[in-house]
């Protein structure tokens, strides 16, 4: 049987990591391998095809579709300006005031003219799309016309869920302890453009204040689903996020509810206070899991510790329980019995025993814990 799917969220002081930056359609890469880039530098750009507009010229002129070519003033590929005549009919008895002209609604070009439907398709000029580096680092690979790979060294913290796209700003801690609530009054004008780290929870009022102040990001242990719905204006059905336009990026490290931020995570944020972070709320919980992240370039310890390959869960591993009745509790694995055990629901599952900080021991299905990766 497969063990717990949640691979454990990474919370590491120093790591070397890479981010692939890709254009949605082919374009031009503006950097080279070896270049040092900043998160907000443009590394590649492309032209997105312009919006399409349809004009039913045949209807507008009261002619059959197959007569369209005869009245067109423009042909496929021609440039056209807004209000410039696109087509016009022959004036009745040569009387100009009886002539009907179909003007172009946009500035752009003529894409197609259909003698079947009587429609003319116009396209706006292409729009420039700039792709930024996202993280401060070095270009280590260039995919011609597609994008680049940027490598950096620094602190890496994954959240469990987020909303909002990529953002940047200095890390600042706005609460005393990981179990404190981030209250609206803790946010001031000074937090504008910053990545504000709270404790166990941020309420709707706090999130509103964050938007008003103009913070770059909010990182907290938990939020209530009700507040998220209010923030977005709709209920999130599936966890595929990153495109929301809510004025800042929100990253939740533990889950839904009021949940103390893991001490280790909170302490790490404290150590990186004042440093500029690159953050992303993009979350995708399907095949190819994507979690929100906070990346703070720059090494804490002067060197990157040897990467240790994570094996199966072992006795002594720090874990977080991720389901009721012990949701949010953190402890260490104290036993891993191999036989199937009947739990409260009468299901027979593989379980483990977790010893909590004060010595209490609890039994939890293995599927209901995640490893705290450090």
């Amino acid at each position: 049987m497969a063990h717990a799917y949640t691979p454990g969220l990474k919370v590491v002081p120093s790591i070397r990591l890479r981010r692939r930056r890709l254009l949605p359609i082919p374009g031009e890469v503006r950097v080279q391998v070896g270049d040092k880039v900043k998160g907000q530098d443009i590394v590649a750009q492309t032209k997105l095809p312009g919006k399409v507009h349809l004009v039913n010229v045949a209807n507008r002129l009261g002619i059959a579709a197959d007569e369209l070519r005869g009245v067109m003033r423009k042909k496929e590929g021609d440039q056209v300006y807004a209000n410039e005549p696109l087509a016009q009919n022959e004036p009745f008895l040569g009387l100009k005031f009886l002539q009907t002209v179909v003007p172009s609604p946009i500035t752009g070009s003529v894409e197609s003219i259909s003698e079947v439907t009587g429609q003319v398709i116009l396209r706006e000029p292409p729009r420039l799309l700039n792709l930024t580096g996202y993280i401060d680092g070095q270009v280590v690979e260039v995919m011609p016309k597609s994008g680049v790979v940027i490598e950096t060294e620094g602190t890496f913290i994954q959240g469990i869920f987020g909303v909002g796209g990529e953002a940047h700003g200095p890390v600042t801690i706005a609460v005393d302890s990981p179990d404190s609530e981030l209250l609206p009054e803790f946010l001031t004008e000074a937090h504008k453009g910053q990545v504000v780290v709270g404790g166990a929870h941020a309420s709707w009022e706090t999130l509103q204040k964050a938007k008003a102040v103009g913070v770059s990001g909010i990182v907290v242990g938990g939020i209530n689903d009700k507040d998220l719905r209010q923030l977005l204006g709709y209920d999130i059905g599936v966890a595929v996020t990153g495109q929301e336009n809510i004025g800042f990026t929100l990253i939740v490290t533990e889950g839904f509810g009021v949940i103390t931020m893991a001490e280790h995570t909170f302490e790490l944020f404290k150590r990186r206070q004042g440093h500029v972070a690159s953050i992303s709320g993009a979350t995708q919980i399907r095949a190819g899991v994507l979690r929100p992240e906070i990346i703070v370039p720059g090494l804490l310890e002067g060197r990157i510790p040897e990467a240790t390959e994570r094996g199966a869960l072992t006795v002594g591993d720090p874990v977080r329980v991720i389901r009721e009745p012990h949701f949010g509790v953190i402890g260490r694995v104290s036993a891993l019995p191999s036989e199937l055990t009947k739990i409260g629901t009468e299901s027979c599952v593989r379980i483990l025993e977790v010893t909590l900080e004060k010595g209490e021991r609890i039994v939890v299905p293995r599927a209901n814990v995640e490893l705290l990766e450090r």
Binding site: V116, D225, V238, G255, A287, E346, S347, A367
Partner: protein
Amino acid sequence: MSATPELNVILATDCGSTTTKAILIEKKGDVYRQTYRGEAPTTVEAPFEDVTCGVMNSITEVEELSGRKILEGNKILTPAKGDIGVDIYVSTSSAGGGLQMMVAGAVKTMTGESAQRCALGAGAIVMDVLASNDGRMDHEKIERIRQLRPDMILLSGGTDGGTISHVVEMAQYISAADPRPRLGQSYRLPLIFAGNKDARDKVKEILEAKTALYISDNLRPTLDKENLMPARHTIHDIFLEHVMAQAPGYPKLMGLTHAPIMPTPAAVGSMLEKFARAKRANALAVDIGGATTDVFSVFQGIFNRTVSANLGMSYSVSNVLAEAGTENIYRWLSFDIDEQDLRNRLKNKMIRPTTVPQTLQDLHIEHAVSREALRLAFDQHKALAVGLKGVHQERTISEAFDQSSTGESLINMMSLNYILGSGGILAHSPRRVQSMMMMMDAYQPLGVTMLLVDSIFMAPHLGVLAGVHEKAALDVFYHDCLVPLGACVAPLGEVKEGKKAFDFTLLLPDGTKKEGEVIGNEVVLVPLEGEAKVVVRPAKGLDFGAGPGKEFEAPLTGGVVGVIFDGRGRPLKLSPDTPKRRADLERWAKTVDMYPTELL
């Protein structure tokens, strides 16, 4: 077609999004039985990016358990000789998101629907249905086509000989959008045109340069005829040649199998069709997964499939809440829970989808959600499993354009004989009666209906095998795949609470009788494993299929649960009074022994 091959040892795999499952089927005497199974994580993503790694791992597990040597390096040994090799290897796949399609038709409720049925029946997830009259502005349609990155597009529209302008218009939208395929940068997006044959030249002119264009027979040649099979075959061919070929490791996998790889849902649908045909019955099947819920039905020999892409028990659990509404989840709970707590719990399940309920309260919540997911997916199925529209009305296409009436639904619960459930929540419930009650509450079967579960989701393997050896597939389906839960016996009509709804006699093959009475708003469970005949005598106004108040007799088959005589009435109405509703739920659960008593 050649005669059925002589097969003694069969290997089948299903490459799912997360797990690849292998089964070994062996001939024991005259009957085929599933003997060993193995599973391994699917490997279509980094760092492996080769589906065959997961396939080999799952087969290795089968080798270890069975002691049969199947692999030599990365090759499958054939034919079987003693303890070495297998006679045939077949596979299905839904890895990497399965087959994702966009369909387009001229009129949304006519060719749009036909195209949707065609794609769904081929095993696809339909990302969107575009039509001339779908209510969107033209530029919105184009934007939508551009945003979607399907594996292929199915374009239909118009009856043969009818007007071509609507379908040409759709072709122009697609051309203007210049859509791109989901996988692979370098190949052109496959597009199947299965519309008015008179429009073929125009469609070619517009789309040939921008897409990999395939022409198939019109799937709606006349208003009263739907011809889905040619386009479905084309979809399968393209799925293999283009889509699969782009997926990591699939060219290798295609080289290993002895029959074409089928999309998983297409294989499940094929198995259900074979089952319904063999039983000469109407059947409904559901596969409720973490992300999606597939519903299949065969009524009067007509097969339909729908996929509710965002109704599921983990990844999509929050969407069930959003679509059903909190009150509809609440109505199935016999205890009080704060709304905020309930919502947070479901969101936490969404972000950590593989957790399992540890408490009975949590299990109850999951069962409440599943009833709603099953109900919503079934509603969507009923909306699409309908007769053709405009059939008996002499209208031209342009007149028909305005018609909003829908065809008659093919789903008739009174004539439904079997309900087959699969997916974690139904297959792995701690007590089988929980699965039975969930399906009864969601589907509200009428008359006499048999309920079964596919305990280890073997239907995909068997569906693809059925194409090669139907007997082997059906043998395993009956003996190893399906777990009979029992029968539900329920009348149509409103019951009077506290008054007799009906009485029944169960006649067993040994001549013994079991008799009983069912009071309105109550359920009665009679344990029964084998076959029997039931005679029911309903109160005035209640109908088991013979007419209101009339005695009804039918054969039935019990199962691990037995026969549940359901006197709650149809449609099932839960009391609006919360304390009474909770008391009703508790009493029904107790009567059928649904949960351990400590919670109740």
